[in-house]
Symmetry: C2
Subunit: 482 residues, 2 copies
Amino acid sequence: MPDLRPVLFVVGLMITALGVIMFIPMAVGLAYNDDSWNAFATSGFITSLLGSIMALASYAPKANLRARGAFLLTTFSWIALSFFAALPLLIASIGLDVTDALFEAVSGITTTGATVMTGLDDAPKAILIWRAILQWIGGIGIIVTAMAILPMLNIGGMQLFRMESSDMGEKILPKAASLAAAIGMIYLLLTIACAVGYGLVGMNAFDAIAHAMTTIATGGYSTSDASLGGFMDDGADLVAIAFMLAGALPFGVYLLSWQRNFKPAFSDPQMRGFLLIVTLLIAVITYYLWSNSIETGSHALRLSAFNVVSIITGTGFATADYNLWGPFAVSAFFVFMFIGGCAGSTACSIKIFRYQVAFEALRAYLFKMPRHHAVVTMRYGGKVLPNTVVYSVMGFFFLFFTCFAITAIILSMLGLDAITAWSGAASAIANVGPGLGDIIGPAGTYQSLPDSAKWVLMLSMIVGRLEIITALVLLTPSFWRA
Amino acid sequence: MPDLRPVLFVVGLMITALGVIMFIPMAVGLAYNDDSWNAFATSGFITSLLGSIMALASYAPKANLRARGAFLLTTFSWIALSFFAALPLLIASIGLDVTDALFEAVSGITTTGATVMTGLDDAPKAILIWRAILQWIGGIGIIVTAMAILPMLNIGGMQLFRMESSDMGEKILPKAASLAAAIGMIYLLLTIACAVGYGLVGMNAFDAIAHAMTTIATGGYSTSDASLGGFMDDGADLVAIAFMLAGALPFGVYLLSWQRNFKPAFSDPQMRGFLLIVTLLIAVITYYLWSNSIETGSHALRLSAFNVVSIITGTGFATADYNLWGPFAVSAFFVFMFIGGCAGSTACSIKIFRYQVAFEALRAYLFKMPRHHAVVTMRYGGKVLPNTVVYSVMGFFFLFFTCFAITAIILSMLGLDAITAWSGAASAIANVGPGLGDIIGPAGTYQSLPDSAKWVLMLSMIVGRLEIITALVLLTPSFWRA
């Protein structure tokens, strides 16, 4: 049994912080004169109180957070924060029951962006800003987790991104804290730049800030039922394309560029691979729209660029219902969900580097096939690729698709039709947001699904956000043995 | 550039043999007095002549077949035999054009069983027996390939099944020949037993023999548009269940049991795993049919057992349209296509041992996760599982799903709806036969698909049958370099 105190202590501090943050939507509610400020005042008080008690009760200055504690911390913090984040959504009388409130919170904090709410355009501003804040917190949270914690735990090949100075042991927390500060500054600056961008194309201050938070977090919550489509006439989609991409690029590279120079940005294999594949897929979809006369001219390019970037980065904003673009578009957008952005970004899903590693391994494998005694060296970004990384990556693919299939099977067992079940499962585990089909597609919501399906999707979002293995390891009996 | 002569020589002999075999349907045609005997006489003459010329022209007594030659032989023989097998289907005037004739031949010889023909009940007997013969040849062909050739080429973890005496080098062909003789005898006996079984439940001799050949080959071609459903009243489905399972069990274990005793049959991990999973899934589907009142009593059990076994073994016979059993059944049967039988059987798809290896690797991985310095030994069937096998298996999963997704995407690009494209791709690469939905589901055929889609499916069937890698390695430039 690992020492739980440092885990509970850190999670307690996080909950306290979340409680304090709830006073922001409270202030927004007061400023806009809506009744929901009350829900945030109450929740903020309860949350920060319970968080402080938890932190104080488990304070143990000499306890250390080691590998098993880091696993527990990662999964437990995400779950605990979701519960408290749902509190104001439940208390405010906006028609959400426990399941719906929790669904909205989990979908927010995992930056998925699947929603059960309609009537967003008239919803209380406090609620809208809270949804944006949840995604914003989730976005920075996952970057720090991916850069400071997962590489040390060897999760799914993330050890590739272990920094020179990293090693296992007592230093996990101070390291995470100093990294979080530097990354947080970059994250904040990008958010401000995005909000200014939205402002320049005519969004009002509130919409600009809310959308900036969910754009850079590649989350996808909007303040309008029409999603970003409602702001497209003024060019908000172009701003969004730039900052969804910015959110899906590796923040470690930003940090290095900031501290030294721009060289790492041009030589980073993930960044190059990601931008290449995005460009290619935008071209394919644009050509498809043109050649089938579905959309024409530069409008086709714009719709293609926005929706491809939105799905690949896992944001989930929509400016068009690509369900209506014919069978190829449906299949293509289904596959796009499995691509993902760069490791160490706010984007989710399988991620580009895993495909790059898999294809390099495949190349070596096929080369070796007819000549057994050949020695082949695998490389990634000019460096030798250790077998253990390849092995972790391959295991990740297997686990990801297994979890995806199990989720889809359970959803169809609960009565969802094939398209809704399979696309919903993909969207949840890849933290995208919308699925395919009429119900949960870009023009629908998750509102009408049975509660049981919502719970399955929540679990899948959390497991997907934590790169599967981080959560799964907690379910093995051997983890809990001394 | 590998020495092509031994490859061309062996393929030439195979084509000659195929030509000679064509005189069987010719005789059947004459006996049943149908006009199509002519097509088989012509094709048999052409095929055996061209095959002989090819063999003689490439005869080189001192040339040896080494690793690269074995890769070429495997892929090239499957393609060449398909072309010649299509000849009589094209020449006989039964309404098949070049694409359709080739589709039917490829689907037969790969034991897929997807058909473009309707009106089977009134079709010429010579054509019907030819379709059955193709699957029967394909079945024994894949067992010999899987036992004698693939393990030596390290294909997707098949090296697990390398026999004690195997090693690379000159002995590939004599070994394959002696193995083929022993396995062929067992295969023939099982086919006779199956035909007798069908005869006992009231099938006429022709239907019994034709179905016996496609049952043991887990192929699935029938002599009736209603598939085996038309013979269900008499209990033909129960005979089919037994022999589809027999065809999907490892023939190496039969051989050992025959030569020594029955011990290996009870301790073989593949066999145990396969029978366990089949039993479990039959129970799940039966329970689902009961609890949703879709079918009742023992009839539900019988339909469930037949259709689950038919899909998992990749046979593709149908006694019910499980499309009508609701969303869970559709999703479940979709996933069943990816399971497959045992290695060294006539069954196809991913196969049980790969899942067993993957889960053992997963267990070791999750155990090691929180304790980096632990040493974990992976085992399969009591023996230590080398890393290279795990690596090959993981690579196989990645490749299989990548090829599957690419096939599905191309099919939807050709205008197929999502269900047809994705289930058709799965059915082709896993060599199952029917897909899902109204068009290519158990109650439909592939007739109405565009020619382009049929070509994509043919390619996918061959790639799937050859365990992906065998075919893919030929596409790498490095294969052809000296």
